[in-house]
Amino acid sequence: MINSSAKRRDLIESLIKSVLIFAAFISVLTTFGILFSIIFESVHFFQRESILDFLFGTEWNPDTAFLSGTARGAEDVASAQFGAVPIFAGTFYITFIAMAVAVPIGLFSAIYMSEYASTKVRNIIKPTLEVLAGIPTVVYGFFAAITVAPFLVDLFATFGMEASYRSALGAGVVMGIMIIPIISSLSDDVINSVPHNMRNGALALGMNKAETIKFVVLPSAMPGIIAAVLLGVSRALGETMIVVMAASLRPNLTMNPLEDMTTVTVKIVEALVGDQEFDSSLTLSAFALGLVLFVVTLIINIVSIVTIRRYHKKYKISNL
C-alpha cells in the first residue's frame, strides 16, 4: 500500500518536473522562434538580393521592387537597390544622440541617489524616475512629434539654421529621456553595491567625497555601469514607436543631426504595413533588417548580461 502510493508520488513528481522543464524551455524556444522566423524569410530575401550589397551598399532604392510587388508585370522592373548602410548609419546616429543625453544624466542621477541623497529622498526619486521608463513608447513618439520637433525647428530657426520636422536630434533626445531611468536605476544598484570599506579607505586617505566617487567608487562599479549603458544602447537600437512617429522614412547618410534620418525599425514597420504583397523583396527586406537588428542586440545583450553576472559574483550580489 505504502509502496504503491510512493510510486505514484514519484510518478507525479517526475511528471511535474517534466512539465516545469517544458515551461522553462518555452523561453528558449521563443528566442529560437524569433531567430528562425527571421532567418527563414531573410533567406528568401538574400536569394533575390546580394547579401554584400545589402550590408555594404549605400543606396537604398527599393522603388522598383515595390512596383513589382504591386503586380505590375516584370517588364517594368529595373534593378532595385537594397544597400542598408544609410539605414544602419541613421540607427546608430540616433542611438548615439540618445546615449549622449541618457548617459550623463542617468549616471549623475545614479551618483546623486546612491552617494548624496538620504534614503528617504532616494526612495522617492528612484520610483519617480522609473515612471519615465514605464511610459509607453507610443506616448514618447507623440510627444516627440507634436512638442519636441516643432520646438527644435523654431529654436534652430532663430539661429538661422534649418532643422527638419523629423530630425534625428528630436527623435534622439526623446529616446534619451526614455533611457535615463534604465541607466540611472541599474547604475544606482551597482554603485550601491560597492563595499563601504572601499569608500571609507579612500576618505581616510584624505580624498574628499567627489574624489572618492571619481577615483574609487566609479572605477570599481565600472563593469556594471558599462553593462547598464550597453542595455540602454540595445534598447535604443530596437526602439520603434518613437522613431516611427518622429524620425523620417528617408535613408539619409549625413552627419548633420538636424536632417531627417531613418532607422532599421522604421523600415521594418514601413515594409510590413505598406501597400505591397507579402512576398515582394521590399517586404522581405524587413526580415533581413530584423536579422541584423537581432544579431547586433543579441551580442550587446549577452556581453552586458555576462558582465553584470561577473560583477555580481565579484561582490556577491545575487539577483541575476
Binding site: E59, N61, P62, D63, T64, F66, L67, G69, T70, A71, R72, E75, D76, A78, Y165, R166, S248, L249, R250, E270, A271, V273, G274, D275, Q276, E277, F278, L282
Partner: protein, 345 residues
C-alpha cells in the same frame, strides 16, 4: 492555488473563443487610398442600421486582392478596396480559388495634385518636365544615351521655368499615392523619350526628391515654409489647405475637382470596391453595405465622402454604377480587361 487560478482563466479564455462567430462581422481589406472612404461608410452602416460595424484594414491594393481572392470561406474578407481596377491576373487567381462571383463598385476619383507655397508666382509644368527633374537618369543632349540627372534648377530643364532649385516632397515608396504618381507621371512621361524604350526608370536619390512621411499634413507644413519646394499628395489636402498652398497647373490644367472628375487633369485615377457575392446572405449586411456605399448621400456630388476628399463621379455615371450594384452585375473577363466594373454594351 496560483495554478488553479490560471487554469480557470484559461477555461474562461477558451469559452470566449468558442463563442466567437465570425459570420456576423464584415471584413474589408485593401488599398490605403480607399481606406478612409470605406471606413466612413463602414461606420455609417454600424450607426444607422443594426448590423455590426465592418472592420476595415489597410493592406494595400495588391495585398488586398491577394487575401480577397484566396477563397470564399467566411474567414476571408468580403470586400477589397482598390485604387485601380482589378487586373486580369488577379481575376484569374480569384476564379481559380472559387471566387467566381464578384461585383464591383466604383467609388469615385482620386487626383494627385502638385502644389507649392501660396506666396510663389503661378507655375505650370508638363509631365515631361517633372520627369526630367526627378528621374535618376535622363537623355543626354543629343538624345542618344542616358546620363545621370544633371539638373539642379528648374530653369536648367527649360529656360522659361523659374530659377528655383528642384526639390519635390512626395509620398514614401510604400504608399498608394506614390504608386499612382510613379505610374501616371513618371512612367507615362518616360514613354515620350524613345531612349527609355518605354521602361520606367528610377527616381533620383540625390536629395532632389524627398520622400515625406505618411502624414501628408507635414508635407503641407513644409511647403508653407520652404518656398522653393514642390510637393504632391492626394487632392483633398490641397483643397483643405488653400490658405497655405496653391496647385501647380499640369499641362495647363488646374487641379480642381471638376477637372479631375472629367478627366482633363492628367493625374487622376478611379477607385473601386469589390464584393464577394458568395458572402451575401452568409454574413450579415454584405449587400446592405455595398448598397449604402453606392447611395447619393455617400458618393454623390453632394455626398458626405466629398468632405473627406473624394472626388465624386458625374451623375449619369453614378446612376449606371448604382444599377450595376443593384443587379449584382458579375465581373467578367472582358470587363476586367476593359478596366471597368460596368457591363459592356
Amino acid at each position: 492555488m496560483n495554478m488553479k487560478k490560471s487554469a480557470t482563466a484559461l477555461l474562461a479564455v477558451a469559452s470566449l473563443w468558442a463563442s466567437a462567430s465570425a459570420n456576423d462581422q464584415i471584413r474589408i481589406v485593401g488599398s490605403s487610398t480607399v481606406y478612409p472612404f470605406t471606413s466612413y461608410v463602414a461606420e455609417e452602416l454600424g450607426a444607422i442600421t443594426n448590423f455590426a460595424t465592418p472592420v476595415v484594414e489597410s493592406t494595400g491594393s495588391g495585398g488586398g486582392m491577394k487575401i480577397f481572392c484566396a477563397g470564399v470561406g467566411l474567414d476571408t474578407p468580403s470586400f477589397t478596396n482598390a485604387s485601380r481596377a482589378m487586373k486580369p491576373k488577379e481575376f484569374e487567381t480569384c476564379q481559380k480559388n472559387g471566387v467566381t462571383e464578384i461585383t464591383g463598385l466604383m467609388v469615385g476619383y482620386d487626383g494627385i495634385s502638385i502644389a507649392q507655397s501660396k506666396e510663389n508666382p503661378k507655375l505650370n509644368l508638363t509631365k515631361e518636365q517633372i520627369f526630367l527633374a526627378l528621374a535618376q537618369e535622363v537623355p543626354s543632349k543629343d538624345g542618344k544615351s542616358l546620363i545621370a540627372n544633371p539638373y539642379k534648377k528648374w530653369s536648367d530643364i527649360d529656360a522659361s521655368l523659374p530659377k528655383r532649385e528642384i526639390r519635390m516632397i512626395g509620398a514614401p515608396s510604400t504608399s498608394g499615392t506614390r504608386d499612382s504618381f510613379d505610374e501616371m507621371v513618371m512612367e507615362k512621361a518616360s514613354k515620350s523619350f524613345p531612349i527609355y524604350g518605354g521602361k520606367y526608370k528610377k527616381i533620383r536619390t540625390d536629395g532632389a526628391y524627398i520622400p515625406g512621411g505618411e502624414n501628408d499634413n507635414l508635407i503641407v507644413q513644409q511647403l508653407a515654409q520652404d518656398k522653393d519646394a514642390l510637393g504632391y499628395f492626394g487632392y483633398s489636402f490641397l483643397e483643405e489647405n488653400h490658405d497655405k498652398i496653391a496647385g501647380v497647373t499640369l499641362n495647363g490644367v488646374e487641379p480642381t475637382a471638376e477637372n479631375i472628375a472629367d478627366g482633363s487633369y492628367p493625374v487622376s485615377r478611379s477607385m473601386f470596391v469589390y464584393m464577394k457575392n458568395a458572402h451575401i446572405g452568409k454574413i450579415k449586411g454584405v449587400s446592405e453595405f455595398i448598397e449604402l456605399y453606392a447611395t447619393e448621400s455617400m458618393i454623390g456630388q453632394r455626398g458626405v465622402l466629398r468632405t473627406i476628399g473624394l472626388i465624386p463621379m458625374p451623375k449619369e455615371m453614378l446612376k449606371k454604377v448604382q444599377t450595376s450594384v443593384k443587379n449584382k452585375t458579375l465581373l467578367t473577363k472582358e470587363m476586367v480587361e476593359a478596366h471597368t466594373i460596368l457591363p459592356l454594351k
